[in-house]
């Protein structure tokens, strides 16, 4: 093989900064080719996907609406991933949070409950997500079971659980047999920020979470612990940190954030509980986390970008008859390129001339 991968002596700062941009550029190029294969004009398609949604205020509001859960979940995931802990079940934690909070909404529906309902719902949502996330965490810490598989399996379980509830015990008796709860009372609804739009207070909460994460990671000893455990586990042990406790903590926090995002989504834009409250936010958030290079502000930007593609995808479906699945394709390709560019920070590609004999390693 004339091409080999070689470790750099020092991380390439240039690529570290440019990496997300390079990845996006490569993805756009690949998408252009895909569009062409599908028989669509590449430039037109790219325009519909990425530029048009930026042109009208309603779209911009929708981008923010979609970005809210993405960013909130991704922030939580980033805490895990920085420490090399793989929470893949954010989608399930999102759903469980939605269910937990909705319980209160359904319970108090039609009664004259006060304004304490919404904050209580949010709290329940976060709590539910956290507890659900602790299941794979405990399985890992106590039993050594792979958190990747356990957290993922629980996504399916959560899905079924939600389905059962909205078709059975929680179904709106006046809802003409649709699998959905009754619409939430106003006290159980997240207030909107702008009249006529769907942009809601959850967005403010998300911004707050971004700021909190920035402070946590950059300024607190907890943030230092998270970064150290991921960067140099032996040094982390020498520093007195307990990897097991950290696993439980990061899972609980990311579960709480995912759960919070879930109940906000249900009590905000959607307005009631139904089976498909998530177009895969929990999974897309994984990509947001990586694209944002596991940095809170980066995640905010990445979240907005990916939300843009969600809206773009919806528009494209109508405007140029491109199936929604293309958005998933785009996300998958983007993640691959982001990972590859990240790898280039540590490694470089070199040509080896066929004349030079590679030295053998130890035997």
């Amino acid at each position: 093989m004339p091409l080999v991968l070689e470790r750099r002596s020092e991380r390439s700062a240039m690529i570290a900064i440019a990496s997300p941009l390079i990845a996006i550029a490569l993805t756009l190029a690949t998408m252009a080719v895909l569009f062409a294969i599908l028989g669509k004009n590449p430039l037109e398609a790219l325009d519909v996907y990425f530029l048009e949604p930026l042109t009208d205020p309603y779209s911009l509001g929708e981008i923010a609406v979609k970005a809210t859960p993405l960013v909130m979940i991704a922030i939580g995931l980033s805490l895990c991933y920085i420490a090399n802990i793989w929470n893949i079940g954010a989608e399930g934690q999102f759903l469980v949070g939605a269910v937990a909070g909705s319980w209160l909404a359904v319970r108090t529906n039609g009664t004259d409950a006060g304004h304490w309902v919404l904050p209580a719902m949010l709290l329940l949502g976060a709590l539910g997500g956290a507890l659900y996330a602790l299941i794979p965490a405990i399985c890992k810490v106590r039993f050594g079971a792979s958190e990747i598989l356990t957290s993922l399996m629980l996504v399916y379980v959560a899905n079924f659980g939600l389905d059962y509830l909205v078709r059975g015990p929680w179904r709106d008796p006046h809802g003409m047999n649709f699998p959905t709860t009754a619409d939430f009372d106003p006290v159980a609804t997240v207030p909107t920020l702008i009249e006529g739009g769907r942009l809601h207070a959850g967005a403010i909460l998300t911004l707050f979470v971004v700021m909190a994460a920035t402070v946590l990671l950059g300024r607190t000893i907890m943030g230092f612990e998270i970064r150290l455990v991921g960067a140099a586990p032996k040094a982390a042990r020498f520093s007195g940190f307990n990897a097991d406790k950290l696993t439980l903590f990061t899972f609980a926090v990311s579960g709480a954030l995912a759960g919070l995002a879930g109940i906000i989504e249900v009590a905000g834009p959607v307005g009631h509980l139904q089976p498909d409250i998530s177009p895969g936010y929990g999974f897309t958030a994984i990509i947001v986390a990586f694209l944002g290079r596991l940095n809170p502000v980066g995640i905010l930007i990445a979240g907005l970008f990916l939300a843009l593609t969600f809206i773009g995808g919806e528009n494209a479906e109508i405007a140029i008859k491109v199936p929604l699945d293309l958005t998933k394709v785009f996300q998958g390709i983007l993640l691959f390129y982001v990972l590859a560019c990240d790898s280039m920070i540590i490694y470089r590609i070199r040509f080896i001339s066929p004349l030079r004999k590679p030295a053998h390693a130890n035997v």
């Binding site: 020092e10 230092f224 040094a235 020498f238 007195g240 030295a359 053998h360 130890n362 035997v363």
Partner: protein, 527 residues
Amino acid sequence: MHDLPPQGNSFGTEPLLRAISITKRYGSFLANDGIDLDLFPAEIHALLGENGAGKSTLVKMIYGLIQPNDGELRWMSRKIVLGGPSEARELGIGMVFQHFTLFENLTVAENVALGLDPTESFASISERLKETARLYGLPLEPKREVWRLSVGERQRIEIVRALMQNPKLLILDEPTSVLTPQEADQLFVVLDRLKGEGRAILYISHKLDEVKRLCDTATILRGGKKVATCNPRLETAASLARMMVGADIGEVKAASGRDVSVPRLVIHRLSLEPDDPHGTHLDQVSLEVRGGEIVGIAGVSGNGQDELFAALSGERLSPSEGAVVIDGLAAGTLGVNERRRMGAAFVPEERLGHGTAPRMKLSENALLTGHAASGMVKRGFVDKPATLATVDRTTETFDVRKAKRDPEAVSLSGGNLQKFIVGREILREPGVLVVSQPTWGVDAGAAATIRQALIDLAGRGTAVLVVSQDLDELLEIADRTAVMFHGRLSAPLNAAEVTREKLGLLMGGAKTGEEPDVEEASHAVGA
């Protein structure tokens, strides 16, 4: 000093392998400096030297793993240039490494097969393996998985695998460092037999009594140079030790004259199972370090030093709380940070990855050991200016050279990083300091700074424990020195009575530090 006239035996008078003025440079560091070596058939030739003397480097060149910068190798009077180990193997050179290349979850036969030519059938390999093993008295069960085997048994696989290729020269790198005395005896029987078959054996070791028992010739390296070639059987252990570690016997450290107070660090019958299967079991280790004194622990690496450090720092908890006592308080079951709060400080052997996080800045690395007890954390928030202040103070006090105020740890040179790591602990004015390999891989200037800092710290009343493979260092700064061997700690010797030879003997496994006569030395170990 004791050079021999040319040898000869029934297998011929020409050397099988000649190394002529072999030199190997790594940057400005001379690993091997103009080394001559002659290996004859039917001879067991020892390569003696301390860690870092250049033995491994020389041998890797003979096996074709690395190339010399100068000098040449001759095989059967023909000049050779080896492009890799397979070429060496083709010539008939076999090697048994100190760190095996085995597959733990595969069977013995499978491991052997993987190291041999694929054209031979598996059944045939299994048969030959059993035969060869039986023939040489190294019994192996082809169907057993390697992870079940003891280290000695694993080594047999490596040896049999090498033997199955019918080598003319067999190189063994510190083969008995992982063997029990009985297993070592068995190995010697095999080696004698191979010698009887006319093979040449190059035996790398630092164990003097073994070399005297087993080897016909010994070449001694020190600091990359060849010091002597001699007949070990005509030497005493003492004279060999002297050649190995340096001729100046006179460097005995006088009593420090420091005020020594109460024991501030007490290790009491500490026994601990190793974390990983290749580790060393600690066996009833006991030691007292008093305030104001520096106690050294000498020994070849791999005899339990890592495990001891982990038990002292709190990275591993001891079975009983009384096993480690800091300033009178039982600490054996307390964690690292609690021990730091009790005023203890630690410097591990590995600078990058253990003592520091390589890709993090110095200020964060100051936080690494400082967050528990040094006022760098207030209500959960990191006081960044305080961490930077520590960096500045350390830089100034210990002359740490770096490119900017707060660079990544990995960007500092070894010596400067070590000054930072040792400095950040000393600045905390700990009551107890445990430091492992304080000047390993560090330039002379930095080493001097660090050693002086340790002496000064002890002078202020701290109990300092130094684990080191560098005898010069210990002789220079330690008030008392004990030796670690196979997980056991010898009784400490006072500076007044300690000598290089005594330490050398203890490092090689002798029971006491006293210089016995020749017979007693071989009696004491493994006989």
